[in-house]
Amino acid sequence: MLQFLYQQGATSGLSQFPHILELSAKKNASIQLQSFPEQVVEGLCIYFINEGRFEWKINEQRHVLFPGDVVLILPGQKFGNEKGILDLGSITWVQIKIQKLESGELVPGKWSGMSDHESVAVGKLLSLNNNPVLSKLTDGGRILNSIAFEIHHHELGFVTRINQLIDELLITITRQLTKQNNPPRDFPKVFMNLEASLRKDLSHQWSVEEMAAIAGMGTTLFNERVKNFTGFTPINYLINIRISEAIKLLKKKEVSITDIALDTGFYSSQHFSTTFKKLTGYTPGEFRKNNSYHE
């Protein structure tokens, strides 16, 4: 196996790719102390295990890795080996600088060819993910090798090609992790996982694409399944949750109606008011007045 190490700023080769912090392949034939200590990573790291068995601690959790595994480490997470050593074997990895929004969400940068919608969805799914190991994802290794090939050879169009390959890598990983996180035969379970994600982050402007991706299916099938199971379209089901949570907040006097609207995911207090009145016959203000008591 060819070993190489490209690092942003330190070695040449990545000058046309400011978003790639590191690209490397390493065959480790001897155990060395302090060669692989736990460290906080700056960018999004994607490792592929070619050979060997590795024991890593990722975000405070121990994992044992085998050939074919892809490992995903999010920006700001701690990762490395507890004893500081790198086990015998070979690995390939890339570290990508990825934009982290104030809300904590990740968004691929301008280099990406993904549409705004898709890149938000991919970023959302990556940041929601809490299992960093994707087993038997050999496609991940193939794409990393292709990226390395392009960087070594500088053929015509290699800049475009590499950026496309990174997109492909992110999409492949995101698809795999939604599949891995969802039991294939149990839609009720899949739906309840999604339900919990929606509730955890109700102020987010969820798109059907994101919801479908969390459920691990395409939007057409997802729409049909949700409609069948809940009686509502995905967006209308979400409105149900939003209004229910809003009602609870309206019954408590401390929170302002504008804050309630935004906290529960409406675009504005106007949007909240219209939706609320259409369903209940009351404006949020009237509803609050009817349900508040002067003691």
């Binding site: 035969r185 149990d186 009686g231 089901y237 229910s244 016959g281 009237e286």
Partner: protein, 503 residues
């Protein structure tokens, strides 16, 4: 043209139907709401989401199916799942989520009362088995474990009472659903003091008791406007899903029993007095002063078979869980009656009737080296149905049941209906209506409007489908196995408790 709307607040979803006055379905819609299990034994639902989902579905149904065709809504009749408990403050604002029937947190309170001298007296007056599902025990739990909420509570409601309160501003509960709280004296039709004392509350903490035909008050102005309904609509307090499924199945004669098997199941009979079971295993729900629905509920049913399908079904060719279950059923038919000696105890979710043991667990018994996969499939189905038979046997101690009617997605599978007929050695009529709860609620509302003279007459309107006749030979085989099934269940009490503790 007038129409009747029925609203069923079920375990997982609200189902709303619109019927014309001949009982023909004009339209129906459902809306799912989730159940939260934040801890083992906890099973909760958000009352606001249930209300909003109900409102949303009702509005869609009215706008899409009723208003465009110029139907005039004459009445709205409610039914709901039983045993839910919701504590609200003195202004009617929920203090926490509602506890569903499946919530088992009050299991210590259940053990305590079952071992006490009160047990007999409370069962005699309420006719309801003492089980953690009972709101009486849930309130007792809250008093001990969540004193803050208990103290703040102005009322203890059922989910249906809360939804009606939102719509009309009245706190009420019908007799049949009140029975399911474990606190109604079914002889005096008033709250039972001993039960209230055990729960630690006074009658003013409970909604007003009303007959199933009672008006639940006028729809609030805002909802009249948003739904496009007039203020002359009668809102009926209605009943519980179990009672309405019985009415909707047309079973209203004392020598008949109805078997409902969906995810879980129940066997019920109707009569003019309470069935007094010495072992306190039979529930008695009062619909009107002289009409009781009695029987036993089981946690086992189609849900257990679905579990089996998910674990052991073949999904390489099956498109989804339904087609997978169908191919399993195909395989099961290749095995002879009795599964060549494998028995299955279906207590994966603990069990209610007839053993009332939340610690009961499942098992396969009698496996030998010749048994193959398909034997397990058939044994699983037979095990689920032996459990139904054991409830029927319990009821037969009180009533001479001469024929059966089955409904629900699992019981109406021809293969299952035939096994039921063979096990009971009785003819079985299959009611194909998937929505017997809604039909029951329609019949209730129609009787209230004077379309039928009585609930008896209303029930007789239900047409039955195919009839299955028992095969004497199979019955003999099943009875040999059932004897072992029953003695295994009885013998394993201690082991059930020990294994449940480890899980």
């Amino acid at each position: 043209m007038k129409c009747i709307i029925t609203i069923e607040l079920g375990t997982n979803a609200v189902r709303i139907f619109a019927f014309d006055l001949n009982g023909i379905v004009i339209g129906s819609m459902k809306g799912f709401y989730p159940t939260f299990h934040s801890q083992p034994d906890y099973s909760e639902q958000d009352p606001e989401q249930i209300f909003i989902t109900m409102l949303y579905v009702l509005k869609n149904l009215l706008n899409e199916k009723i208003h465009p065709k110029k139907y005039k809504v004459a009445s709205i009749c409610f039914s709901s799942s039983m045993h839910s408990l919701l504590a609200v403050d003195k202004h009617g604002v929920p203090l926490c989520n509602a506890f569903t029937w499946a919530d088992n947190r009050a299991k210590n309170e259940a053990k305590e009362i079952r071992g006490s001298a009160l047990a007999d007296a409370i069962y005699d007056s309420t006719g309801t088995p003492l089980h953690p599902m009972s709101p009486m025990l849930k309130i007792a739990w809250m008093k001990k474990n969540d004193a803050q909420t208990f103290k703040q509570a102005g009322k203890f409601l059922s989910i249906k009472s809360y939804v009606i309160y939102q719509l009309t501003g009245e706190y009420l509960i019908d007799y049949s659903l009140a029975c399911a709280t474990g606190m109604l004296n079914i002889h005096t039709i008033n709250w039972e003091t001993q039960a209230l004392d055990f729960a630690g509350i006074t009658p003013d903490k409970l909604p007003q008791l009303v007959p199933v035909f009672a008006s639940a008050g006028k729809l609030k102005k805002a909802y009249q406007n948003s739904l496009g309904l007039k203020d002359d609509i009668k809102i009926l307090a209605g009943s519980s899903d179990g009672c309405m499924a019985t009415l909707g199945a047309g079973i209203w004669k004392s020598d008949k029993a109805t078997i409902t098997i969906e995810d879980s199941s129940a066997v019920r009979v109707v009569g003019n007095k309470m069935l007094h079971d010495e072992k306190k295993r039979v529930f008695n729900y009062l619909i009107t002063e002289d009409c009781f629905v009695s029987g036993g509920p089981s946690n086992s049913g189609g849900g257990i078979f679905e579990w089996f399908a998910k674990q052991f079904g073949d999904f390489t060719t099956a498109y989804d869980i339904e087609s997978c279950m169908n191919s399993l059923l195909q395989e099961a038919t290749k095995v002879i009656t009795g599964s060549e000696g494998i028995l299955f105890l279906p207590y994966l979710l603990g069990e209610r009737a007839p053993i009332w043991n939340p610690d009961a667990r499942g098992m396969y018994f009698g496996i030998n080296i010749k048994h193959e996969r398909q034997h397990f499939i058939r044994a699983t189905i037979e095990g689920i149905l032996y459990e139904i038979y054991s409830i029927g046997k319990m009821l037969n101690e009180h009533r001479n049941i001469s024929s059966l009617s089955v409904n629900g997605s699992f019981a109406t599978i021809p293969f299952c209906a035939q096994i039921i007929s063979d096990m009971f050695n009785k003819p079985v009529d299959v009611t194909r209506n998937a929505n017997s709860v809604s039909i029951g609620a329609f019949l209730l509302a129609a009787t209230d409007m004077g379309i039928y003279k009585s609930l008896d007459e209303a029930a007789s309107q239900i047409e039955v489908g195919e009839r299955y006749s028992p095969a004497e030979n199979n019955h003999k085989i099943y009875m040999k196995y059932f004897e072992i099934f029953e003695s295994l269940t009885n013998k394993l009490g201690d082991e059930f408790e020990k294994i449940a503790e480890l899980q």
